[in-house]
Symmetry: D2
Subunit: 195 residues, 4 copies
């Protein structure tokens, strides 16, 4: 089995919902096993989380965009990943990322760029969603990639929308397809020998 | 008078419309004179454009976001600005920026970051829109900063919308307020002696 | 007096030394009073820190670059600044930033971009170092802006160098000049009325 | 054979030299054939260049960093790649990037981020250098990844150094290893079926 780890922080439940959609997509792929890992509010990462990540074939990063970047709890995780970094433990693992915030654009791209930057410090292989956008007048939040991220999945949850209401249909479907894509890639490249 | 130059490229007219809104806002400020400078399709910058920029108190950058960054015509202008860069000719001039693209997010933030990066190579002072976003369920393209840029003005023009149809009301008003803000700042700091 | 706050995190003392150089430069300006605020290792921000920041004319951000971005302790501070953000309490305050890391390039630019992104969410005015680089063959770590940042001050402290050894002369002088520049700008624009 | 295309611009020959090192590394891999494609000074891309790119398994991007981003000639190429973008013609092709500039840091990271952004609009798979940095006191330009890029290869050519003198030994070796890595990955994943 190819192991897909999803390590994410969620403050109010919207990013959790996005993570669940990525998980659903990844789990639908034959030969893939998915392990969601939610970073707690105090940012403390358990030892076994690091063990799980060390064994994963793909590590997908997720966080809300707070003040133009990933939540500090995610950054604390990233800072502590200097240990596997030093030992090149994540080299060649597949990477990807997703984020959510209330504002339509809201500098979300910066969070995705951070995930990418982190992945490259680790020597990972970045696989993005590869989705063209739904960008015509008739399109709205119910269409795939209307939000319009390219390097990772971006979702919009209006400031007064509960996790039951948002992210909306299109964003969740984009996330589901992304999970599927990463898992497919992990399964297809599983037997590739690459140092 | 404080001189506000707006140097921009527009491919199909949508960014032109955004530039016009920035211009309208800046021109409404007592003591400000505004000079719009459209970069032509062949990217050739006239000598007098450089003279105008050398005399400006503020230089506002504008371009559509094409393939995740400013149009090449704008980048050609930026590359050629290495001459005033070398002579520190734009040091301490106020800077700002705006962009438009079809996709909702569409990596527009990257274009604004490029404008900022360029301004900082020149030693300029960056003044952003300073607008909180309209990010509740009831908000839409008709509200100020629904698109939700912070570092510069971002606008959305759906792929099948003409310049008559888009950018829409909220984006244009955000651009107008931004022009006003930059011109106000230029006028208020005109007599400040700063080397 | 113009109040210049320097809010920063330092893990091993190198960024502390850079902060001290910024402080020295700012304090050398007539009419400027400087308040250094070090974020503790547990990331807990005291109430009076927020009060000090609310009263400042300029807020300068500082952090090491860890894993391609600011340290989590800084990000925690940034996340908690959503309260003054919501109330636009930092609007029009001057902003700037500095960072240090062991590797020559080391994605330091990403940390400066984050500081800028944060400042723009707050509606601040960004003032960079405005230093041309020392980029000829004869130049080295002892020259001003050899490290070559434009949007903020970047410093290099090799992985095996103590805070007594690094950041080196050129980086410290770049930082000192930057503190001076920001304080000058704060003093010169103190009586400017701008809403 | 796996086809590795290197599409790059070089203004004065330094980036050309870096491209040659990437080519040398890629060509040393059994089963890889490398096609260097230099963008001319007028930015005009020949039709057969697009054909070559359409058939490539990997597309590596290269440009000097001019004024904080890729040269306009490269951006013109990127803008014109909207045609293969629209048809998803580069989806799942491997991507990578390299840049050179005179200043040590010089905002080079921004150019690499642009290459990444472009690759993700195309749905490509990003493979970075995966090199730890040489960041101790004893290290210098002759050591691998002393310059210290993670997401792509960064090189330093002092402003008064000819292409015979720079990029220097360490940067060229970093580029050679990167070409080797990308070609290895292309060869190993050649038979992977992935839509």
């Amino acid at each position: 089995m190819s192991k897909i780890a999803i390590i994410y922080f969620s403050g109010y439940g919207h990013t959790e919902k996005l993570a669940a959609a990525v998980e659903e997509g990844a789990a639908s792929v034959a030969g893939a096993s998915v392990i969601p890992l939610r970073i707690p509010a105090d940012g403390v990462i358990e030892d076994k989380t690091w063990d799980t990540l060390a064994e994963a074939d793909a590590i997908i990063f997720g966080s809300p965009t707070y003040m133009g970047g990933p939540a500090w709890q995610f950054k604390k995780f990233a800072d502590e990943s200097s240990k596997p970094w030093y030992g090149k433990a994540w080299k060649n693992k597949i990477a990807g990322g997703f984020t959510n915030s209330a504002t339509v654009n809201g500098d979300k791209f910066n969070t995705i760029l951070y995930f990418f930057t982190l992945s490259q410090q680790h020597g990972q292989i970045w696989v993005g969603p590869a989705q063209l956008p739904s960008n015509q007048k008739e399109h709205g939040p119910e269409h795939v990639n209307w939000t319009g991220g390219f390097a990772g999945v971006m979702a919009i949850s209006p400031a007064d929308a509960s996790p039951e209401e948002a992210p909306r249909k299109g964003d969740l479907e984009t996330a589901r397809l992304y999970g599927e894509r990463i898992a497919e890639y992990a399964v297809r490249t599983r037997d590739v020998v690459f140092a």
